[in-house]
Symmetry: C2
Subunit: 364 residues, 2 copies
């Protein structure tokens, strides 16, 4: 089998051990004679899969009892609507706009309430994060919204805004489970699975129970109410059963790795290796403010579009897949989620070095 | 490996050949060095998977060019909202209520428009389908809604209501791809995947292009607009990539089986075998009007709850899984979708016969 390293921003590389287990169990899970894909979601064997996934996630992310874990379809993008529809009370919400997805969330919220941009890094081309200390948040805002890690730009909030009693809502899609997290700082957080959790097709929503309301935007579709999921343990209708099973396997893998403390150490080491290589290079640059660099998504450029394209092409030939930056920003981006092994980074760094040896003299 | 037959109503049995292939490819699809679960949805290799799935479905269901195929998350239940939100024009819609899911769809529609029940089989405990010939449909209704096959009750429309120029909307979740279908009779039809299509986590929506509107209920979340999916080829955001890949495999399997004509023959034979066994039995009865029996879901009862429970328990021990009727109606139900082999029905019929030999004398 061809050895490749997959730097895709999502869907992304999954732990090899998890995939091997999934393969072993594909036709016959736990001697049931069935694939998990074929199981009634109301069966005992599946119920156990779902409950274990929830409990394992609660354990690894240290989720207190006053928070509910929901599995919802539609991706993070559906949360852009569900958040305002469900959290509306005074009809006001304050948004930090730190990239394309934060902006989409803000635009979507305007359909349902008075959404206000309280801080933005647009003028810096989203290469940094606004200072969270001096932001004026409306006292009667229903929530404050951030996208904590910006996949496209490689930025991350290093401190959370102090919203006082106003619930903080965070899209943590691309940083969730990469390091320990203090859930109590959030009212609600959500993560599309396809980065650190599992295959695409489910979004994990963690919500403080007092924010699960009967009264929502009028009208809110039944399938867009958090209460529908909370009341039925994410089984109001048929959930994406296999996808949740895969997420459950990843949660167990995280436990086996030593949990989020161990992963943080590993992820920081991996990111440092790559950032150091970029800093020491005369060819590659990272456009991101050093104070707000993500340890999950690392963008870099040569400053020459043709050369970027050549790098991406040759990297692919060398087995370094999906290293191309998002179509909206260009350049390169290495997404180095939990499941990216250190080997992958080392191979990339060695390839960058070689490429610079070959090309740098001509271009620098 | 334990031989079982899985009569689950959904998620349901999948073709063994499909599962074996999925297993073979799980770690390394088409020598990509990646699992399909790890692939960027924007990659060429995944794009091909999606496009082939769409084309194969178009071929087998004979879907004309003026219909769009959309892959949407959230299950059929989300369609209960999306249909009225997207098809609203005059603000009226007429519903046939033939079971729990049709009723849910009707109740949901009332959130967005004036929904009217124009026919119902509630008084017959949903054991039949209302006569479609003499139903008065409002001339200015935006659409007419049916649930074509009622999974819980084992009924199916054998003729479609003549709605004249008003679009017919059908939930075909549990009959789709079981027999040839004339798509042109519908304005919109949708099917949750987890019966005849693939694993749960995606809903296939087939919509006549003129019904894909910019103007929808105000406000409609972006992720709940058909136009969002149509404009972006179901890739506005990350789709449930692996689930769609599995659906694509099932579509290819259907082609290999000889398409929907061949499946209709096989399904009818399977259903006849089971219905005949019930008719010839002195112990088992099918409560469903013989004119409207589904060839996908076959409910039956002994008339004695304790005996039903004994049957279900012993059937399970004999490897006949998920034969229990829906919790709302009790008794037994055999869901015999495309992937249920004839063997499964023969084994069930033989078991029913044995059970009747043992128990019938005492109870009849």
């Amino acid at each position: 089998m061809k050895q490749i390293y997959n730097f895709s921003a999502g869907p992304a590389v999954l732990p090899k051990e998890v995939l091997i287990q999934a393969k072993d169990e594909l036709l016959n899970y736990a001697n049931s004679g069935m694939s998990v894909m074929e199981m009634s979601h109301r069966s005992k064997v599946y119920e156990t899969i779902l409950q274990e996934a929830k409990q394992d996630l609660r354990d690894i992310a240290n989720i207190p009892d006053n928070y509910e874990i929901l599995f919802i379809q539609g991706g993070a993008s559906l949360q852009f609507s569900m958040v305002p529809m469900n959290l509306i009370k005074n009809g006001k919400a304050d948004y930090f706009v730190t990239g394309q997805f934060a902006k989409k969330a803000y635009e979507e919220a305007k359909l349902f309430l008075d959404a206000k941009v309280v801080a933005s890094s647009k003028e810096q081309n989203f290469t940094t994060i606004p200072d969270v200390a001096n932001v004026e948040i409306r006292e009667d805002a229903d929530y404050v919204y951030i996208c904590e890690n910006n996949t496209i730009y490689g930025t991350k909030f290093k401190e959370l805004p102090n919203t006082k009693d106003i619930p903080l809502v965070a899209d943590v899609s691309s940083c969730f489970l990469s390091e320990p997290i203090d859930i109590t700082k959030y009212g609600l957080l959500f993560a599309g699975a396809q980065k650190n959790i599992g295959p695409s097709g489910v979004c994990v929503v963690i919500i403080r129970k007092d924010l699960i309301r009967e009264e929502t935007f009028n009208p809110t579709p039944t399938m867009l109410k958090y209460k529908t999921y909370a009341d039925h343990d994410s089984m109001y209708n048929t959930p994406p059963t296999y996808t949740i099973y895969m997420c459950g396997k990843v949660f167990k893998w995280i436990k086996e790795q030593g949990g989020l403390v161990a992963l943080q150490k590993r992820n920081s080491d991996k990111a440092k290796l790559l950032y150091d290589a970029i800093e020491q290079s005369n060819l590659f640059k990272c456009p991101v403010d050093p104070n707000y660099r993500s340890i999950m998504n690392v963008p870099f450029v040569t400053g020459n579009e043709e050369l970027d394209a050549k790098f991406i092409k040759e990297a692919k030939e060398a087995g370094l897949e999906n290293i191309k930056g998002h179509r909206s920003v260009g350049g390169m981006r290495a997404s180095i989620y939990n499941a990216m092994p250190l080997d992958g980074i080392q191979t990339l760094v060695a390839f960058m070095h070689d490429f610079e040896e070959r090309e740098g003299k001509i271009h620098v």
